[in-house]
């Protein structure tokens, strides 16, 4: 059984890994493309099905 403390430790480790990757070196093209992203997804997604839950 995973304790709250273990989960928090795991969350911190995962967050650090994700940050290292997501904010690591980007190409100029990636940088420009990310600047242009003004939205992701849609509020309509809230009513879309869950996949494995169905």
């Amino acid at each position: 059984m995973t304790t709250e403390n273990e989960r928090e430790k795991q969350a911190r480790e995962n967050a650090q890994k994700a940050a290292n990757t997501l904010f690591g070196k980007r190409t100029k093209e990636q940088e420009e493309a990310l600047k242009k992203v003004t939205s992701v997804g849609s509020p309509d997604n809230l009513i879309k099905p869950d996949g494995e839950d169905e």
């Binding site: 995973t2 989960r7 928090e8 795991q10 969350a11 911190r12 995962n14 967050a15 650090q16 994700a18 940050a19 990757t21 997501l22 904010f23 690591g24 980007r26 990636q30 940088e31 420009e32 493309a33 990310l34 600047k35 242009k36 992203v37 003004t38 939205s39 992701v40 997804g41 849609s42 509020p43 309509d44 997604n45 809230l46 879309k48 099905p49 869950d50 996949g51 494995e52 839950d53 169905e54």
Partner: protein, 177 residues
Amino acid sequence: MRTSHALAANKYEEYRKKARSISTDVLPDYLRQATKLKSIDSSALAAASVWADDPARHVNWDWIFANRYTFRHPNAFDLSVWVGNTLCSLSLGRPSHNGKFMRLDYLEKAPSQCPFSSDMVGITLVAYQTYATLIGAKQLRIIDPINDKVLKSYLRHGGFSYQKAKQGNPHCLVKEL
């Protein structure tokens, strides 16, 4: 509010606060010093209301709805990212019904004045992934991303893979946690 609802709301509010705090801690120095990660509270809604009149805005989303949504779904995750007094982005998502994965359902960046504009997607993903781990979810999914070509290229490096729509379920980008 029923007692069970209040208990759930309190429990998940702690997870949300912790996720925002951990995410802030792991950001690169230039972002950690400049940004604040908060909930979608009344000040975020007030700041976002200005977006409605911005001609550069591409969508017409009602963020007041987010406030009602988190009340109805106490385990949902809401995030506002600020640089000083400037609201830079808002996002909303929730865990699946069985809690196996966390969904990022939508995100919007400030249409015009958005410092660190290219970092907003990254900040949001770190926070959603952190919340997902705290609540015990095994996957993070970005549901039906409308600009998936850009995201696919960027997120391949972040460990996401593309999952086609199947059996009526929307396509998404998936990361195992």
